[in-house]
Symmetry: C2
């Protein structure tokens, strides 16, 4: 007979599922706001979101949650009070304890002030970006930096205040660890970029000629029909910024956008968001609403999206599968050879905007932000000096100077939302993806011919088996060790880029 878990465990599970149900409702409010909500609905929607977020926070820090948790573990040490808990239950209790400690550290007044500040700041940021007026945003950014310093003090840190901020997005990383990975990565990427810049461009202007919305949508649906997502569990819509949002493994939605002069952006967005969606759909439904049914971290989430967008979507074998469909829908490609298309869609060209960056320069954009964030938090850089510091680094790393702050330090929304420590996960995701990919390749030496033939199910299944099914059983580093035999480093990513781009640029 299966062992019955203690009552307090079952009570915690119920509370946890209740919180997740509210969180999934909150997800729908966001999804609707970005897709179908009439514009007049924005003010009532803000109230709905604020009220539900407040309720969720209250439930997370509720005395009954603490009481039940306290029956299972010693609060100060996390050591178990109850023996013989099954492994699954032990993991959930461990993660509930972590979450509870984090959620209860910030005083209610701090949370409220932070929410008011960032709500105002993100509106000011939008105006400042639109009108290229950094000065408008600067006083808000100063307050946000101060708020993040205070947050770091409240959470506590061993080495650098930035450590405490990273933890919210990638619990197993520290400033020193990321520096240790990013410093040589930056050097190697700059070296690779130099080699590429010395070669002739492989860009073909046919890829940026206008493609109608109808044709792009037709390609979207052909792509979806190739991807092994259960149609009953997902849907595709249009929004101004592509995103993926899962209410449940059986209701996981993605969006894309249609840019008339960049039809491949739609294709890569769908691949990227489907990668996120596969992760959510691959979580074990029997653990829904508990940490075992949750994703590990933003880095691992990003590893899944970048896996499908870059390692699969930007591969030659995927081109072999999908390019004939493009040629059929867009007749001007009829006479362009596959190899030329493949090379052009992978061309490398430094640009000002992170979200438009190619595979080689993308991490440089992220490293730039990582360096600046640390300096802002430590006080080594003052907010007023940010545009100058940004522009200098852009010149150093990419050989470009932004003409305006709009395409410089005002381009991303993250800081206005208070999100410091978030950016590194974009680069770490690429690194994790490539490190996982080396293991995947070892087990599937024929992956390229299978992709070419339209078989993608085995890839999704490999990711489900090796990553998705574990929920929060492992930290991201533990998972890297389990799957690849070693903790995260940049070697697999650099080896991939160096090999791929040496072929494309022929050096």
């Amino acid at each position: 007979m299966a062992q019955q878990p203690p009552k307090s465990y079952l009570a915690l599970k119920e509370l946890s599922q209740k919180i997740h149900t509210y969180t999934s409702i909150l997800g729908l409010l966001h999804w609707d706001q970005e897709t179908y909500m009439p514009s007049g609905g924005i003010s009532p929607r803000s109230h709905q979101i604020a009220q539900l977020s407040h309720l969720i926070h209250k439930e997370r820090i509720s005395p009954s949650f603490k009481k039940q948790l306290g029956k299972l573990i010693h609060f100060s040490t996390g050591k178990p009070k109850v023996k013989n808990l099954l492994k699954c239950a032990r993991i959930n209790v461990r993660e509930w304890h972590k979450d509870f400690l984090r959620a209860t550290k910030l005083p209610a007044s701090f949370v409220k002030n932070a929410s008011q500040l960032t709500s105002e700041a993100s509106q000011v940021w939008a105006v400042a970006k639109q009108s290229n007026q950094f000065k408008l945003f600067a006083p808000f950014l100063e307050k946000i930096v101060a708020m993040n310093r205070k947050k770091a003090d409240i959470f506590g840190f061993a080495d650098h205040p930035y450590d405490a901020l990273i933890e919210a997005y990638e619990p197993c990383m520290s400033t020193a660890r990321i520096k240790h990975i990013f410093t040589p990565l930056r050097k190697e990427l700059e070296k690779l970029l130099k080699k590429i810049n010395a070669k002739r461009s492989v860009e073909n202007p046919l890829l940026t000629k206008e493609v109608s919305k109808e044709t792009q949508l037709a390609l979207s649906h052909q792509l979806l029909s190739l991807l092994p997502a259960e149609p009953a569990y997902t849907r595709l819509d249009i929004s101004s910024h592509p995103f993926s949002l899962a209410l449940h493994p059986h209701d996981s939605r993605i969006t894309t956008r249609i840019l008339p002069h960049a039809f491949m952006s739609n294709i890569f967005s769908i691949l990227h968001e489907t990668g996120h969606s596969f992760y959510e759909m691959g979580l074990p439904t029997e653990h829904w609403g508990t940490p075992l049914g949750e994703t590990i971290s933003l880095s691992i989430h990003e590893s899944q999206s970048r896996w499908w967008e870059t390692r699969i979507g930007r591969s030659l074998s995927f081109c072999k599968l999908f390019y004939p469909r493009i040629q059929k829908e867009i007749p001007r490609f009829k006479h362009m050879p596959l190899k030329d298309f493949y090379r052009s869609m992978n061309h490398v060209k430094p640009s000002q905007i992170r979200v438009e960056a190619d595979e080689v320069t993308y991490c440089l954009h992220v490293i730039l932000r990582f360096e600046i964030e640390q300096e802002l938090i430590s006080g080594a850089l003052q907010v007023n000096d940010l545009p100058e510091a940004w522009n200098a680094k852009m010149q150093e790393m990419l050989g470009l100077t932004p003409a305006t702050d709009t395409e410089g330090c005002l381009q991303d929304i993250h800081w206005s939302l208070g999100d410091f420590g978030y950016f590194p996960t974009y680069a770490l995701g690429n690194l994790f993806a490539s490190q996982f990919f080396t293991s995947f390749e070892k087990g599937h030496r024929d992956w390229e011919s299978r992709v070419e033939a339209g078989d993608l199910v085995f890839i999704r299944d490999w990711l489900k088996e090796n990553i998705h099914q574990w929920g929060r059983t492992y930290t991201s580093d533990e998972l890297a060790k389990k799957v690849t035999g070693k903790p995260l480093d940049a070697s697999a990513y650099l080896a991939y880029l160096n090999k791929k781009y040496a072929e494309i640029y022929q050096f």
Copy 2:
């Protein structure tokens, strides 16, 4: 200086707005389920809805609500404890008191059992309807009838247990009052139907020939552009059953459906749902979240939808405005004269299905249900005898006998959801609409020429000024008296039908 309301009033207002915010979120869960939710999302959606409904019920009956209310009024009598409350506040307090008493009458166990029963019953009903097996549904319907009797006992009633059930949907009506209105109405409608049946059909088969989805959508958007709804506050989507759902006066959504062989059904659905939506959009936003910002009753809501669908949409002047657009989109109407189109779209023909009924037979379908519901609740009719009773009444009233229970007593979902006392509001809505219309016509003798010229704003504004702006200030009967000088009766409705159909059928 404006008088500051007492603290307890402000606290109640905040609680009331909180409940409304949750209710609007619940609305979005329903809207999404009927429009865009992936089919796999149904099970998590049911959990989300159940959890949020439970929370809303808890907030409605919360001790803090009772405590604050008790500071303003004597709970048993409803008499004020506080003097000098402004009129607005007095109305809100009066309605909060009513709502609270009603919400607290049903024990939690009753609510839970009812919800489980109807959830199961509605699934069984769908199978029973699909497979024409009344016997499957009968045991559930028996339980639902028993549950409704118990509900009536708990709420209490003076005369007929059915009175207590009607009150949930139309607070100012009683069984006797409705009987008093419906009995002569039935006779008069049967008389009118006989006259019509004696005449030659005015139906033209061109109206039921297939029209493509694209053409129907083009007509939908032309219709929307004529209707005076603020585009920023509304949107149109497709669902299997048309509905209207407002999250807020500034976010009020409607749906329609596209039936290939009934293109006018789409047009009438949009007019009907827009009528509901105008009501919601016309409520005073400054009172949002309190009774003064709520609609009165289902009957008054239905009066608004039927106003736009029938009194405007089925009028000759609206035909003059819209038929040229139909002729342009559907070339086969090029040579059909306006009068013939108008007569055909208003043709009267008894059918089995309520939702497809014309203006003359519609209320007969409703009266049939009203008569049967009362008898089921009083025990005069046994559930097992329902199909026979239904078919006999159909024969009596419409001269038809359903070939199957699927198109007979199983056609509507309402009973499976536990909704007894709901049906009469469909007919009362028509009656209210026509009674209001007589007052509207007195003030706007030129309404037909204005509609013909495309001016519809003055109609919406008249409804807003006379009906929408008052929220729940008046009961539906008080509103009828205020707007038309007398309580509701069927005279205006019968005068309208007799005049219109005498012209159409030339008797």
